[in-house]
Amino acid sequence: MFTSIFKYELLYWLKKPSTYFYFFTFFSISFLLFIGTAGFFDGVENSNPQNIRILNSPFEINFMLKFFNKLFLFLLPTIVGASIYKDYKDNVHSILYSFPIDKKSYLLGKFCSSFLMVSVITISVGIAFLIGEHFPNLHASKIGEFNFLGYLQAYFIFTLPNMFIYGLVIFSIVAYFRNIYAGFVGILLFFFIQTITQNIFGDTPFLIALLDPFAENAVLYETQFWSLADKNSQLIPVFGVILYNRIFWLSVALIVFGFAYKKFEFHEHQSTLFSTHKKEKTVLKKNFNNLLKIRLPKVNYDYSTLQQLKNTWYLANFQLKTIVKSGLFYIIAFLGILAVFFTITKITNDSDLAILPSTNIILTLPAFFFTNIIMLLTFIYSGMLIHKGRNANMNQIIDVTATNNWAFLASKVVAILKMQIILLCLLMITGIGIQLYNNYYNFEVHLYLFHLFVVQFSGLVIWALASIFVHNLIKNSYLGIFILLLIWVGVSGIQQIGINTKLFLFNFEEPLQYSDINGYGNQLYPFLLVKIYWFLFSILLLIISYLLWFRGYYESFKERLIVMKIQLNKTIKTIALLFFVGFISFGFVIFNGEQKLLKNQEIKPEIALTNFKKEFGKFSKITNQPKIVDVNLELDIYPEKNNFNAKGSYILVNNSDKKIDTLLIKIGFDEITNYTLNVDYKLIKQDEYFNFKVVKLTKPLLPKDSIKLNFSIKNKKNTLFERNSNVLKNGTFLKQDMLPRFGYFLNNAIKNPTDTLAKKHPLGTLDADFINFSATLSTSKNQIAIAPGNLIKKWKSTNRNYYQYKTDGKIKFSLAFISGEFEVKKENYKNVDFEIYHHKNHTQNIDKMINGLKAAFDYNTHYFGNYQHKSIKVIEFPISEGVFATIMGNIIPTSERRFMANPISKHQFDTSFKVQAHELTHHWWGNQLVHANALGAGILSESITDYITLQIFKHQFVVDKSHQFLKFQRRRYIRGSVNDSDEKTLQFAEPKEVYLSYGKGSIALNTLSNYLGEEKLNNILKDFFDDFTNRQNEYATSLDLIAKLKQNVPDSLQYLIKDYFENVLFYDTKLNNIRVVQKGNQFKVTVDFEYLKYQKNNEENLLSLNDFVQIGFYDIDEKSIALKTIKVTQKKNTISFLLGKKPSKIIIDPNFLLIEKDTDDNVIML
């Protein structure tokens, strides 16, 4: 019996064209994806590829399959679910179930055959990758050695078990509910479970790994410390949490299946979940009443358009009920709420940067996720509604009623839209609920409404219309759902093969970023424009849906087309034409916008650079340029129009002992700049792309002589899709990059610290050391404009605000010009004004910021000298400009994200305090001690600054906070380290390698300070500081600092400098065993532990030891009993201590001094 059912079913699927369609679609997509990623469409590959992930490595094959594994899920209802559903649908079950078929053969036969079918289809992707990796013209660096085991692993550990596990579940759901759409909706449950577990078990990654339905997090867990080299070669370790995960989910699936199996009966009607035995009643058979005359009551019939319109509403509600009145919908809604709740909870408690649950935050990530779920539900439910009549075999009675096609069509559209709206409302209520729960009371209902019901809903409406169109066109609703998924996924696919025009990317827009300060900024207008374009398109689809409305019987698609032609009357033609013209017009506007964008991108930057080097390379030898010593600026900012106008002048001095006759001038990229010199000169050569000019002075500039450059600058106008002007409606943040600069800018490239040229210039600047700066800024009447320096004067004129600034002393050529509507918090502390310019709602972190500033002010003035300005201004800027904070003169521009930190989160160290303490410390380390243009510069700025910030933490807070700080830095370093196959030593770290300069650097200095003493290390640093702040034309490098440290550090600690600054190595400690013996009043504690260190990627070769390590002893209340520092010279150690109290917890390296990946074995509880 089993074999005959199995064979019959298999044949059924093999005869269906859609089976082949699925196979070849998956094959094509995955094939294109593979060769696309491998650079097939990109042409010649970069000559010096670095940190490249090899595509055919087991890790990467599995990584790419991850995406397909999710798509495959939709095959489960389509094939596995349908294998049982088709019997209900075609009403075969009522006959079939009377046959002597046994339940076991029936269910297993159906499941096994359809599972086999699905498995075969999934293998299409593997075959595509397999062919892909042997395809010609791929970038050689991306393809490694062929490893068939990788494929086997990906399929037999992940894809096929997934299909089996979730196939069982979906099969059970469909068999139980006798509803195929329940199967589709069931898939979404798994997505929810994944999101929820990810967010709920943030602190226990093992549980996330175990409970992930797709085992993705299990892979992440097992490979979290994998280096790039590992990822490029290793097989994924299966025996561990991955295996447990598979077993766990298999058990869940078997339980679900067992339940459904038990409940399954060969009955015509569905069995019920909770068998409600209603009182049975014998109904006496009476048929028609013996009314002999039929006198239908008189009622009014109304077939008017208006009434049909009203009917649409009624019908929509009727349809909606069939969606909403189902347990599954409630489950989805409930899990949706949970998913949002836990996502937000994670964000508000994240250990790295916990953020307040502001409306903006709730609307960013969670709403995006939720909207995608609504979109998937739209695909599914619109299929259900369109095919509802036919599926119930009620279509004939419905189709003969005098209701217009458009009323039917509109009712289904409206029902879907209502479903979407219900869920969006639910999201909004959930969001507000979460805010209430977090005691956050700034609800911003208008923002919820706008974002959900304009920004998100606009896309959903388009999907609703498209879904209705597809499902009305295609009779097979599974195929319809699949095609809709393809359209959704395909949009990213066609970007992959180089089609980027918004004219073709159906209903696709990058998610909008919202700033409390500047709203959606300039993104909103183009966003809505593109949405309207696709909306008009989908209205055309709707009109076609109307014309092709499936009513009655059609023999062929041709017949539907004939009917369509008949239906196409003048009115419809006119309406369609109107929308078509609208669609084309919007398309034209988008096309124009993109043309402007393309025009600016016509010349590829790499090619322009190559050409430039060829043409202008000879000027790279001209390194002697005058230095800017004096900057004067008049800057008018027009926020409403996104424009600015600037006039200004430089005084340039020849600081060298040679005369200068050639000037190399480069002006801003996005600006229109005019300039004149106050001496005669002539143009020799210019480059349009880089705005670079070479001019010859008629009379050379002699040493110590100066010239003056006058300039005027205005921004280029914004185009539809391109932001040329950095002036915002609110929160403008302009930088010095708009100003003219001197020198062959490519000489700016970072150099080795041993390079003699490196020490001549500060990082990133060829033409200035320190400058005098003065400026007059003007802005609109409701905004404040700020530049570095002291405010000299402010006034109002012609409805604008004017501010004049001037610096006391000299500052680095690092300038910010800010304009916005701010509230200001001011405090005078030790004769310096501490000012916070902030958005009116962002007040939660201001006190912490001021405390951070004060603490850094005190600490740094104590150790490193005076603060040079009369004020410190922290100024908030919109998130669209970045999430960072920085210091420019006496102003600290700080991203609004930093203002939105959650001040009460327990999990994080105090970010608001930390950021401001860090930035102000840069006033000494970065702005006074300026590092040279050399590798390792980050040590002098970021490492020292973060180290000082950590010391400030130690003084200000309980030890927990500084430990959190160190844990954060260690995590940051190790995460960066595993992803960098060519990790540099700290002394040669590139500026962009922040995991080294911040992460490793601060740990290094902290460890040194721990053994050397804070005071002693700070004095060495102060010495170093004084040395270099007094020198002219000689900037400090990392090697200078290391030399200084080596001079002043005792021999026993020299190894630390080598280990941390000059090597890439890891430590590993482990507590093996603890014995405690009481001796009178004292306790003899014997500790067995291991200590080792090794070079990165060379774990076998242990390095010789003469190191210090600390062991901490704690009592039952976690209070420290003793902290012992011991010297180790070998791997295995046993050492005894006499303690006055019995310890209950022992930790090796309790203060996070070592760089260690696995610290789980560093603790023993007694």
């Binding site: 009443n289 002999l292 039929i294 019939y301 077939y303 009727f318 119930a392 023999e555």
Partner: protein
């Protein structure tokens, strides 16, 4: 108020002519459409019911060009297909209300009034809150009649409605149809001759997409009065008799002999005795004639 069908042809893509140049006029009253399975009855009914487009031809009812203005016909059309299902988990009451909306009854009060009436009429009042999908075959068929009446139809098409009903249920069902048919045009397709006999004033016999005979049941039986003969023969003789006579039907007797009915103007031979003609004879004669 008559339904006129002219030169109606429906050719399916596989070449089958389900309706073949069919001409038919149907007047007020019950009209029975008799024919074997596959005769094209359902195709014809679906075409009249605006569910399917013919390949060529015309249909008009009461001045409405059905093919050009299907919506006009739908306003006064009641249709009960051969088999139908309903949305799962919706009660009779709610489903009827839904149909009442589809059929143009705007006011909620009116809808309640009329659904109450048709529920009463079809004796479904007791189970009005029960899901129709859980109804028995007879109840569902009654529900079909209930929904059909909602728009007070002038043209009613019922496609093989009595199949699967028990005798009592069938009788009642036919009574209601008769009642409805008194003032309206009811087309009633069946392959059960008795249905037509009991019910119809007019009838047509259809096969192969064509009308073989259009007549009145009483008239048709009268026309073959005294021309029907019966004889008892052995099984083996059947072939011989079929060759020589127009054998209309045969049925086994208890002694395993065959009773055959033959159509002939005069007594064929001594074996035969005359018997009263019935509608079934008319039906078989028409089918036989068509085959010749």
């Amino acid at each position: 108020m008559s339904l006129q069908i002219k030169q109606l042809t429906k050719t399916y893509a596989n070449g089958v002519k389900a309706i073949n140049q069919l001409d038919l006029e149907i007047k007020t009253g019950m009209f029975g459409l008799l024919g074997p399975n596959g005769a094209g009855k359902s195709s014809l009914m679906r075409t009249i019911a605006t569910l399917q487009n013919p390949t060529s031809g015309n249909i008009s009812f009461d001045g409405i060009d059905v093919l050009k203005k299907p919506m006009e016909l739908r306003k006064i059309l009641g249709y009960l297909p051969q088999s139908f299902g309903v949305y799962p988990k919706v009660s009779a009451e709610k489903l009827l209300d839904y149909f009442a909306v589809l059929k143009g009854i705007a006011s909620k009060k009116d809808r309640t009034k009329i659904t109450d009436y048709v529920l009463e009429l079809t004796n479904l009042s007791d189970v009005r809150k029960k899901n129709v999908s859980g109804y028995s075959g007879g109840m569902k068929q009654r529900f079909g009649i209930a929904q059909l009446l909602l728009n007070n139809p002038k043209l009613i098409i019922v496609d093989e409605p009595t199949a699967g009903l028990d005798p009592a249920e069938r009788n009642r069902f036919l009574n209601v149809l008769r009642e409805v048919g008194a003032e309206n045009t009811v087309i009633f397709s069946t392959h059960i001759v008795d249905d037509v006999k009991e019910l119809c004033t007019d009838m047509a016999i259809m096969n192969g997409g064509k009308i073989l005979q259009k007549t009145r049941p009483s008239e048709a039986t009268y026309q073959i009065k005294n021309k029907i003969w019966v004889a008892n023969i052995s099984k083996e003789q059947l072939l011989e008799f079929e060759e020589n006579y127009k054998v209309l039907s045969s049925s086994f007797n208890e002694d395993n002999s065959l009773a055959i009915r033959v159509f002939a103007e005069t007594k064929p031979n001594e074996q035969f005795t005359n018997t009263s003609s019935n509608l079934e004879d008319v039906y078989f004669i028409a089918l036989k004639n068509a085959n010749l």
